[in-house]
């Protein structure tokens, strides 16, 4: 099978942090959400994919090509949005666009104008005068205006109001209607992913916890609720994560059948949200 993005046994060592054997694959025509708490390694992985950081080990293939050997070819087909503004603050939107557009072979000026209008951005505004949300909109307009096949986004919805967040999700959903395009985006706002992601890759402390289809994740993980009298030392260990209060407990498991056999009707089983999965796994 052809993949638009393949990351295989990726490693990167820092003084206080190690990204360990990161592997996942994204098919053409899908959206993959990359979740994890702050400091889990999401931005580091994205920087490695973009060759902004030098990997220690592993392979990264984009469109079937090596991300370093074929760097220019690959980057010509990637639209990127980062969590911070890396554009020149002293320039206007139009000046910045003139710079960026000259690098891309397939720059679409009409598309860019369309997004400026849709996002209500004035091309004469200096970038330093834009709010965080407006800067994100500008980054998005750039990323979507050169017919990119892979949209790579690092926390694109953080700091944005719910209305614009929903707009972004609609735009991303429309992008993948073209089956040759995919979206990979990291976020800790997991509700966004529940709406549009096809695949979820979860990273914690530099390790991949899972990389699966969203449906598989939502089916496998459940929340168990019950009284604290049901718990003992061994049972506690069988949960992925547990929260206990004076009235009872709530725990995450990916083995609901075993729990049902063990506790019968004395527990309540509920669907776990992505946020539940992330929070309980991190607190483990």
């Amino acid at each position: 099978m052809d993949y638009i993005l393949e990351v295989n046994k990726l490693k990167k060592n820092f003084k206080n942090f190690t990204l360990n054997d990161i592997s996942f694959k994204l098919e053409y025509g899908y959206i993959m959400g990359f979740i994890g708490p702050n400091g889990a390694g999401k931005s580091t992985t994205i920087k490695l994919i973009m060759n902004l950081l030098k990997k220690d080990e592993g392979d990264i293939k984009i469109f079937g090509m090596d991300n370093i050997k074929d760097e220019k070819k690959v980057k010509n087909r990637i639209g990127f949005v980062y969590d911070e503004n890396y554009y020149y603050e002293t320039l206007t939107i139009n000046q910045m666009k003139n710079i960026v557009s000259s690098f891309y072979k397939n720059w679409d000026e009409n598309q860019f104008k369309h997004y400026l209008k849709e996002f209500d951005l004035n091309p004469k505004s200096k970038i330093k005068t834009l709010s965080k949300g407006m800067k994100m909109k500008f980054s998005l307009a750039i990323a979507l205006s050169h017919n990119a096949d892979l949209i790579l986004m690092d926390e694109p919805t953080s700091g944005l109001d719910p209305v614009f967040r929903r707009d972004i999700l609609d735009i991303l959903y429309n992008i993948i209607q073209n089956e040759k395009r995919s979206v990979f985006f990291s976020t800790h706002i997991t509700t966004d992913l529940e709406k549009i992601a096809d695949y979820i890759t979860f990273i914690n402390k530099g390790n991949i916890v899972f990389s699966k289809s969203k449906d598989e994740v939502m089916e496998n993980y459940v929340l168990i609720k019950g009284g604290t009298d049901l718990l003992d030392k061994d049972i506690r260990k069988e949960f992925i994560g547990i929260r206990e209060t004076s009235v009872g407990f709530e725990a995450l498991t990916n083995n609901v059948e075993k729990m049902k056999q063990k506790f019968g009707d004395s527990i309540l089983v509920e669907k776990a949200s992505l946020e539940d999965i992330m929070v309980y796994t991190v607190r483990r």
Binding site: K54, Y82, Y88, I99, F103
Partner: protein
């Protein structure tokens, strides 16, 4: 490559500080330096403009982390470094033309009597700039901006002081270089190429 050069030129000439520098640096130098040999004033002007413009575009990317954005575009790191080095020639030609026109106007108005084009000073300024940038550029690629800024200022002060002394009549620097322009330029070019290769290696292995 043209995209990178276009970017740097746009950045340099859109900045208010650069505009102030371009307009007021010449009158300031003419006012501050009492020159018995005005050709060295011409040397200071073309060298300062070339050097400072060259470094300005560099510092934009180093200080603002905009090199992450640049390196996410379809461009190789080798091209980014090569462009930095090649821009010296563009800024040098610009400085000769700009300073020439500026000084010609000053002469025409009768405000100061100074030559607006001096080929022998251009022959000295070129190797000086090659060596200066060859020393400073790797600092920007290897170290934190703060350390690179110190190197940049040290080199600039070096150029400025020796040339100011020469302008004041001290022949130390001129004895060292005048009459040996060709061999100096060849040595400077060799140093510049070594620095270019070193910078490419440094930048290709740098975490941004």
């Amino acid at each position: 490559m043209t995209g990178l050069i276009k970017k740097d030129l746009m950045l340099v000439f859109s900045s208010t500080w650069e505009k102030i520098f371009l307009i007021f640096y010449i009158p300031l130098m003419l006012f501050v330096i009492e020159a018995s040999q005005t050709e060295w004033l011409y040397f200071i002007l073309i060298s300062s403009y070339s050097y400072l413009l060259c470094i300005t575009s560099f510092t934009y990317d180093v200080k603002g982390n905009t090199d992450r954005m640049i390196n996410s575009l379809p461009v190789s790191r080798k091209e980014v470094v090569l462009c930095r080095y090649m821009e010296l020639i563009i800024y040098f030609i610009f400085s000769i033309i700009y300073v020439g026109i500026y000084l010609w106007i000053i002469n025409m108005l009768g405000l100061y009597n100074i030559g607006y084009f001096n080929i022998s000073m251009i022959k000295i300024a070129f190797p000086t700039l090659l060596i200066s940038t060859a020393v400073v550029f790797p600092f920007y690629l290897k170290f934190e901006p703060r350390i690179a800024q110190i190197a940049y200022m040290a080199v600039y002060m070096g150029i400025f002081l020796v040339a100011s002394n020469s302008a004041g009549g001290n022949g130390l620097f001129s004895n060292l270089i005048v009459g040996k322009e060709i061999s100096t330029t060849v040595i400077a070019l060799i140093i510049w190429i070594i620095s270019l290769i070193l910078s490419i290696k440094l930048y290709e292995n740098k975490d941004l």
